[in-house]
């Protein structure tokens, strides 16, 4: 992966597109001939190989949101902890390349990935909980990852293709906000792997729902099934007076109404608890540290609802 790659021309139709090599943007592009030849329009052989590798994994769940900072990584990590405690074999893959938070939240910051004969070895938080993130590949954790799309896509492909997860019951994939390179790549590379679907995370206020509706349109467009919507930071319970208030008011009906409008399942609401942010900063499992809190109860309810939405499968292969 070189830093000196020339960027593709603006308006490049994409090497896999019908227009590849034919559009006006292709004039003068050094790769025009190879695009015109049609060789690149063949499906990437990696897709089938990834499909084979993914056969070892029973359920594949993606966590997405159009909006940033709504708790995607927190949800993905708490789900992983929850499944791990339930004695499942769990893998957690972080494809947020510019802002990987999973290593911190899982308490494995500073670890690194190793190569073995079988592929890239994930970092193990527990015997049955494996994590992979770009955060493990940086020499300096503060280093900015200034990468354009193609480089991010290559890494995602490598994550899916080269990581040796062994047999897993669950693979949870945490994504960055948006509907761009990372999301298109995940959708493309998992084409033959039958992902179970996407959990969409939102907060109650309209400015967040606005972006989340776009994410749902995106999933429908790229044929990723939607398992359901989770409303995070729904209410705030004051630790002093124990009364509820709404920090991010749901002036437009919140996630419940949005789910009804768009015909997707609503999985539940999770109230805001300051201890969640603290557990994440300390890299500890919130759901097991505070099992009695309202927020933990809500998390478990949402996880149970989510698991019920999965189509039961027999053991891999």
């Amino acid at each position: 992966m070189s830093d000196n790659l020339a960027p593709p021309p603006p308006h490049c139709p994409g090497t896999q597109s019908e227009e590849a090599g034919k559009s006006s943007a292709c004039i003068g592009c050094p790769n025009r001939n190879i695009c015109t030849s049609g060789a690149l329009r063949q499906p990437d052989p990696a897709i089938a190989e990834i499909g084979k590798r993914m056969q070892e994994i029973k359920y594949k769940i993606l966590v997405m949101s159009g909006k940033g900072g709504v708790g995607k990584s927190t949800f993905a990590c708490q789900l992983a902890f929850f499944l791990q405690e339930a004695q499942y074999e769990v893998g957690l893959l972080d494809v947020d390349i510019c802002g990987p938070s999973v290593p911190k939240i899982m308490g494995v910051e500073g670890e690194s990935l190793h190569q073995s004969m079988l592929g890239w070895e994930p970092v193990y938080v527990e015997e049955n909980l494996a994590v992979v993130s770009l955060g493990f590949m940086l020499n300096d954790p503060n280093q900015a990852v200034i990468w354009r799309g193609p480089k991010k896509n290559t890494l995602i492909k490598n994550f899916l293709h080269d990581v040796y997860w062994n047999k897993l019951d669950f693979l949870v994939v945490d994504t960055p906000p948006g509907t761009s390179d990372e999301h298109l790549s995940i959708a493309t590379y998992l084409k033959e792997s039958n992902p179970d679907g996407v959990v969409i995370i939102t907060t109650p206020q309209e400015v967040s729902l606005l972006d989340v509706r776009k994410e749902i349109s995106f999933c429908k467009k790229v044929n990723l099934p939607i398992l359901g919507v989770v409303e995070n930071m729904s209410t705030f319970v004051c630790p002093k007076c124990k009364k509820e208030s709404f920090i991010f008011p749901a002036t437009t009906g919140g996630a419940v109404k949005m789910s009804q409008d768009l015909g997707v399942e609503f999985l539940g609401s999770i109230p805001l608890d300051p201890m969640v942010a603290r557990s994440c900063d300390e890299g500890k499992s919130y759901v097991s540290l505070y099992p009695q809190s309202q927020t933990s109860i809500a998390y478990r309810q949402v996880f149970t609802n989510l698991l019920q939405r999965l189509t039961p499968r027999s053991n891999p292969r």
Partner: protein, 278 residues
């Protein structure tokens, strides 16, 4: 005849490229982390600069999740195409009508439409926003960005530095918790690497006052932004608490600018920053 049309074509191209040359200062609102309040800060900053008498533009380059039109109550407006290029949208309220706003949301058919674009297409759109929008004469162009350090950030910086020969400045936004600070730390290193001058760091969502008992809870911790600014030797612009009044202004259907006329004490840090620019 062919030659003459070509030359007018060239001329047109030239005047277009000149658009952004009439902008004196570029202020990027950046954060490695999503959902920390970049768009809110960008919007409030643009409004405050306008009120202080500057000629201001507000450009939203968050192409997959544009929030600026919603936050300003301008979602129903459309971008018009003039002979010189795209005419930006402006608010109707007389006090803020000089503010020029541009976002990809003005170009979408439905507000639910997803913009599923890969990098090169995003880059092309950003160039178009800078070259083909009739910004006019501006003191400040405030640019709201998506989270991260990827295509949008590289493209906008390259264009400003290499084509417009301008050294942009940045206002960084963070929330106090460590998970957010790591990403903002990355953004600071990005700025240093590509030559963006950092005007300062704002700590947003710093505490929430319970409406029932007035107890202030630091939901996402506190003080992290200040400590990071000190460690990195960049100016700390202040902390903004979570203000339910502001969130309700931003999500109410009332005329946003009417309600905005009453200044909010929670935004004092931004007032001070604007003051420092005058």
């Amino acid at each position: 005849a062919v030659v003459s049309t070509q030359s007018t074509g060239d001329q047109k191209k030239k005047t277009r490229v000149m658009h952004a040359h009439k902008i004196r200062n570029f202020l990027l609102v950046l954060s490695g982390k999503g959902g920390v309040g970049k768009s809110t800060v960008a919007t409030q900053l643009a409004l405050k600069l306008t009120k202080a008498g500057f000629k201001v533009g507000l450009l939203d380059i968050d192409l997959c999740g544009p929030s600026i039109p919603f936050l300003l109550g301008l979602e129903k407006k459309e971008v018009l195409s003039g002979s010189q290029g795209w005419i930006p949208v402006h608010p109707d309220h007389p006090e803020f009508s000089s503010l020029q706003v541009m976002s990809v949301a003005f170009l979408l058919k439905s507000r639910n439409d997803a913009v599923a674009w890969r990098g090169p297409k995003k880059t092309a759109m950003i160039k178009q926003f800078l070259n083909d929008v009739v910004w006019g004469d501006l003191d400040y162009l405030v640019i709201d960005t998506p989270p991260g350090t990827s295509d949008e950030h590289i493209s906008v910086t390259e264009h400003l530095v290499n084509i417009l020969h301008n050294r942009p400045k940045a206002v960084l936004v963070t929330t106090p918790q460590a998970v957010s600070l790591i990403d903002v730390q990355k953004e600071i290193n990005f700025c240093k690497k590509v030559g963006i001058q950092i005007s300062g760091l704002i700590e947003n969502m710093s505490g929430y006052v319970c409406p029932h008992c007035q107890e202030c809870t630091h939901i996402f911790g506190s003080g992290g932004g200040k400590a990071l600014a000190e460690a990195e030797e960049i100016p700390f612009l202040g902390a903004l608490p979570i203000d339910p009044k502001l969130t309700s202004y931003l999500s109410s259907n009332q005329d946003f600018f009417q309600t905005y006329s009453r200044p909010l004490s929670s935004l004092k840090a931004l007032d001070d920053f604007v003051q420092s620019l005058t």
